[in-house]
């Protein structure tokens, strides 16, 4: 167990450190990325297309939606190639390979916390008052981590053998971005599709965040729903990866 933890820690720190080496702005990118994505999207969907957000400033609305989306998307983009990038390690050294995709997922946790701080700062700037309950928003990282880890384990192992899976998933991520209430409020979703959207843990995280920030409403139901959805995905991902691991060494 301590071996696993040490591997996760060392790999995650390796990824974070090497990400910002040979870069002038370095760790500033953690701040720039969420702000830049929010600025771009708010220009298109807040100024040009004007999506209604029930009175919430659109930029702030986006930051609250991108908090979990960016964490999921950025973690996943890294993790799906975890085995391919570390081919040398996979085929030439002996250690539990499941730590590779998982460490890439974990390497995005600091970004998440910075994004959360940025969200709170703009929340104050727009004249809202902070509430101690907002801590609960961080708690939602638990089901999202499980969900992200589960999916990453499945896709990274498949991707190692057939690169097609990486491509398919890239397309799927575009679909998922629009199918998740990030740029629009969940109230805009027609009734017959609502259940479908709630089956996506990221949607649950975003709706939870917004209901708490803008309606002061704690949706425990969403937390438990996403936990119930994520746990089996994580368990399946672990089993699937460990089964695949034995084959991957010869097929990657």
């Amino acid at each position: 167990m301590s071996r696993y933890l040490q591997l996760l820690e060392v790999f995650a720190i390796r990824e974070i450190k090497s990400r910002y080496k040979s870069s002038i702005l370095g760790f500033l990118w953690i701040v720039i990325f969420p702000l830049a994505t929010a600025i771009i999207l708010s220009l298109i969907f807040g100024t040009f297309i004007r999506i209604s957000t029930e009175g919430v400033p659109y930029f702030l609305f986006l930051l609250s939606g991108l908090l979990y989306w960016n964490f999921f998307q950025q973690g996943f983009i890294l993790a799906k190639d975890a085995l391919i990038w570390n081919r040398d390690l996979v085929v030439k050294t002996a250690f539990p390979k499941v730590t590779l995709p998982l460490s890439y997922v974990l390497s995005r946790v600091p970004d998440f916390f910075v994004s959360f701080l940025i969200l709170l700062i703009f929340y104050l700037i727009y004249g809202y008052n902070l509430n101690i309950n907002f801590i609960l928003i961080i708690l939602f990282i638990l089901p999202i981590l499980l969900f992200l880890a589960g999916i990453s384990l499945i896709i990274s192992s498949l991707n190692a053998v057939f690169r097609d899976f990486g491509r398919i998933v890239d397309l799927f991520m575009t679909l998922l971005f629009y199918a998740t209430p990030i740029i629009y409020p969940d109230t805009a979703i027609p009734h017959q599709y609502k259940l479908f959207v709630l089956l996506n843990p990221i949607s649950d995280a975003i709706i939870f965040t917004r209901d708490l920030l803008f309606k002061n409403n704690i949706r425990y139901d969403l937390f438990f729903l996403s936990l119930i959805l994520s746990l089996p995905i994580f368990a399946f991902g672990m089993i699937f990866f460990i089964k695949m691991e034995k084959k991957i060494v010869d097929l990657i």
Partner: protein, 228 residues
């Protein structure tokens, strides 16, 4: 009091080979894109604790595969492999090094992969740096190292891992005379301390330790590669 270190029983290993992908064959390759090719066939051997074993044979005969099988990096298709004691494989010097990071940072990563506990790594870092002779380079990114320096660092980390079974794959192709000399004297020291060592090589005459045994692997029949 010869106890067993490695037990190989009827081990067979077959690799996958991609079939040629032309448009015509594309559909059939979708269903079974791999041909198989046998590297090691029905191989049995017992290595005793403390033995120094040379593994020789031509290219492609399965020397590296044998080490990978013993290390558990890849699994056999048939047969069984048992090892008794801590196995440290050194299939390629510097596998898994991150070239953007410094030597010091890579010591922590590499030693972790070899299964050394964090606290022990801390106490050994000095010895590792000492043995590698790279004291003035430890805070420089690895991409600025020469390939010989990378190998020295990798070897230094591996020998600090207190192996009971050490698997070395053709590692003396690089490194200068002086480092080779020191490496061999370290191996002799391991040998005297009854560490089991398997070393693959093409250059038997350069090995300065008298082997207790030589495993000579036979060349695989390449004509059978693409026939399953």
């Amino acid at each position: 009091m010869n106890s067993t270190a490695i037990l190989l029983k009827n081990v067979t290993k077959r690799y996958y080979l991609e079939k040629p992908r032309t448009l015509k064959r594309w559909f059939s390759s979708l269903f079974s894109p791999y041909g198989r090719f046998t590297v090691i066939k029905n191989f049995s051997s017992i290595v005793n604790k403390g033995e120094f074993v040379l593994v020789t044979g031509p290219n492609g005969c399965g020397k590296t595969t044998l080490l990978k099988l013993i290390a558990g990096i890849t699994l056999p298709d048939a047969g069984s492999i048992k090892t008794y004691g801590k196995v440290v494989p050194l299939i390629e010097l510097g596998a898994g090094f991150n070239y953007e990071l410094t030597g010091m940072e890579n010591i922590l990563i590499n030693a972790t992969i070899l299964g050394i506990d964090k606290k022990i790594i801390k106490t050994k870092t000095r010895d590792i740096v000492e043995f590698s002779g790279l004291k003035s380079f430890v805070d420089v990114p690895l991409k600025r190292y020469s390939s010989g320096m990378v190998s020295r660092l990798a070897f230094s980390i591996a020998i600090s891992s207190e192996p009971e079974i050490l698997l070395l794959d053709e590692i003396f192709a690089v490194g200068d005379e002086e480092f080779k000399e020191r490496s061999f004297s370290k191996l002799s020291e391991f040998h005297n301390n009854r560490v089991t060592i398997l070393l693959t090589t093409h250059f038997e005459k350069f090995i300065r330790i008298k082997p207790d045994r030589i495993i000579n692997l036979q060349k695989t029949n390449y004509h059978n590669i693409l026939r399953d």
